[in-house]
Symmetry: C2
């Protein structure tokens, strides 16, 4: 018999890992709810018709496809089964695939349920997605996304709110972050200003890498993509611009003053910065004119969050997009959303040791089992303590004391209860504090008072 | 463009449905945690090697298989692609499948992580499973299971604890249930007593249907399966036995007194019934000697739960099994577990209208947006109210009052805030109770005091 294994790029989550993950998801959920976002869930499987063509050619390849049940061959002639065009062939024997992100299923959801939805529709969704990427450190084939989006409202107050949500979440985590903001319309204005409006995609793709590869390589990439030397040269002061948000905004406003779309981007950004300043933030909000974000469906504000004390890349991102649902035949619906990177946040919290103790602690009291008579005495007491909302275990077997204490230690249980003849005669129990080693003889009610977490 | 759809047998969950589902899952989770069970998660995909052959021939067919990424044909000759043996062929182009239940992945988990686990290991797991069943009312191709199991302990206190968990969960839900208990060893004893020990599987499969098809059809099925008329006749008093748990246990103990395994089953059942009685229960525990449960891997106690006020079949089940991990080469590990049927519990709670109001209510206060100046005034107040833990929305657009009120109504928001020139001048807001219609002019602090849910 072969040793069991799990598919590469997937993970088991142990109780300790789950406790930490739940802490992350619950914190994010609570803040989303505080702002009136409501949870939805969509099926893990979508039709390939829904998924194909939405993530580019590479995305189509990275979709996990589900083989049709039963006779998946049917009338397909066996000559078709050659390696020439496996993607096309796959579509003939598979009609479903696993969700690749939460955005396309959300768009599909909005279109299918348009008649039930009250706009603006504020939803959040925390579910796994699957990608047949080559597994590597920190990249998995199954991972969770934590998205919030509001659709059906063009108001920039939504952007302000999402920035507040980001600020609140990371304040709760205790992670110091820098929230970067920019606007695709400003980038379009810049492309016009340097005389290359048609090269906006190449420009954004290049400057998106500024942090990683540096200004020299970014310039080289733009030149290689046919952007003129003059244009690249005109771009340099923008790439290296420093100063406060207000100073930068003033400079860029002057620079791209002749671009209609650029001016619009400046106005939007000014609105967002002013409102955010008015409500106050715990974390720093920085206008970064080189923030581009790769995804080309963004059309307005874009956000990105970096941890200040750990070098790990972006841990949250988002932006405004137009026409989310156009791909499904429902045009004109604008939206704005964010997505927290749970796996990276997990790593940051681990690195900085920021998990609160009660997030990872489970059982509060273990009743040691010395035999049937003692267990009989403990059973109703354990039940009473649980009724007070306290997590309690009675060790099921009258195993050796050493083994039972090892169990308590392995689960970091802070209190154990010891019951022998003496305790039974007095109708009380001996409560031992596992940290201090203190022992005291107490009633069930006293026990509850002592072990109740603050 | 085609209208988007979702794969048959799958579901979208709306905000209202999610709120109810979260209430169910959170209630179950909280009770599991109260008894020291810890959550784990396993990947949605398992290797087909892990899954195949674990659920019988029919199960192998109902597994959703995932097409290998990239060139899934490789060197497979095209002559192999015929409908003759699609299951064997599927295994050549697919090496992964979707989880079919939580038990096999749990067994695989225990074997893979045996060196990290402290026994007894008490875990719970709430995740979706997938089955390519023919979709029908109440049966889905993707649905959640909510399992708790303890492995590595033979103690019957685990059975007692699981019955307490069932009792606590349904008490919290407010669903009146009958918890039925029996023991596979008693069934084996009965099979010996009626002279057909080799027919135990046929007997249990038949009497498992007693509730559905009645005693006449059960008898007919047994006779058709080669069980003698004499044996069927000897079985009748057992099938129709009435009385209290104690009376039934006494009668069956006498009836199967010569069966070693039967006596063992009676002793186990007596222990469980006595301990459960000692701790006290809210719901009725009934010894049902005809309870068989289809799954043949159970070897000791078996449980089943029925709602008393809704006819919907079993809403929870479970039992003791030996050798969970033997299929993965790790023998000798016994366990006992239960599984709550979330979809059916959802239906019962709906039918009886038992959801608590706060389970389904989201936003507590909506700030009506009368324009930019008013929104500017509201923004920091909304932020302050959220800081007090209250869910607040500021309507993002200064839309018509009617539209904004319709939004509040559609989300069942109990309070709205109205701010005009008068309020701004006084530094206060008008708070309207949407249920009573009452309005009052209040400060931010007063607002918080009024809207805080009890």
């Amino acid at each position: 018999m072969n040793k069991p294994s799990i598919p590469k790029g997937t993970r088991d989550f142990s109780p300790a890992e789950m406790a930490k993950r739940n802490y992350i998801f619950n914190t994010i959920k609570d803040v989303y709810a505080l702002y009136g976002y409501q949870q939805i869930e969509t099926p893990s499987m979508e039709t390939l018709q829904t998924l194909m063509g939405k993530y580019g050619e590479e995305g189509d390849k990275l979709l996990f496809k589900i083989l049709n049940s039963g006779d998946f061959i049917g009338k397909l002639p066996s000559e078709e089964f050659v390696s020439d065009n496996v993607l096309k062939l796959a579509a003939k024997i598979c009609e479903k695939g696993l969700r690749y992100d939460l955005t396309v299923p959300f768009a599909r959801y909005v279109v299918m349920h348009r008649d039930e939805l009250q706009m603006p529709f504020k939803r959040y969704q925390i579910q796994p997605v699957w990608r047949a990427d080559r597994p590597q450190k920190g990249r998995y084939r199954e991972f969770y996304q934590c998205d919030a989006d509001v659709v059906g409202s063009d108001s920039l107050l939504n952007e302000v709110e999402l920035i507040q949500i980001i600020d609140t979440v990371f304040t709760k985590f205790g992670i110091n972050v820098q929230i970067k903001v920019n606007n695709r319309k400003i980038l379009a204005g810049i492309a016009e200003y340097i005389g290359q409006p048609d090269k906006i995609v190449d420009i954004t793709v290049a400057i998106d890498k500024l942090d990683k590869i540096g200004v020299y390589a970014v310039n080289a990439e733009m030149l290689a993509n046919g952007i003129s030397e003059e244009a690249v040269s005109k771009l340099q002061p923008i790439l290296t611009m420093s100063g406060t948000n207000k100073e930068k905004l003033k400079t860029i406003a002057q620079t791209i003053a002749t671009s209609e779309i650029g001016v619009k981007g400046v106005e939007e950004t000014r609105f967002i910065l002013e409102k955010v300043e008015a409500v106050g933030m715990q974390n720093e909000l920085q206008l970064d004119l080189t923030l581009a974000r790769g995804l080309n469906y963004y059309t307005g504000a874009i956000f990105e969050v970096k941890a200040k004390d750990v070098a790990i890349g972006s841990i949250t991102g988002g932006g405004r997009y137009d026409n989310l649902t156009g791909i499904f035949g429902m045009p004109g619906l604008s939206g704005v959303g964010i997505s927290f990177g749970a796996d990276r946040i997990y790593d940051v919290l681990n690195t900085l040791d920021l998990y609160p103790q009660n997030a990872t602690q489970a059982t509060q009291v273990l009743f040691i089992n010395f035999g049937e008579a003692e267990a009989d005495f403990c059973l109703p007491i354990a039940t009473k303590v649980r009724a007070a909302g306290i997590s309690v275990e009675l060790y099921p077997d009258s195993a050796k004391m050493k083994k039972q204490m090892a169990y308590a230690n392995s689960k970091s249980i802070p209190f154990v209860v010891l019951v022998g003849e003496n305790e039974i005669n007095q109708g009380k129990v001996t409560l031992k504090n596992m940290i201090t080693g203190d022992q005291q003889l107490v009633s069930a009610e006293e026990l509850i008072a002592i072990v109740t977490p603050n």
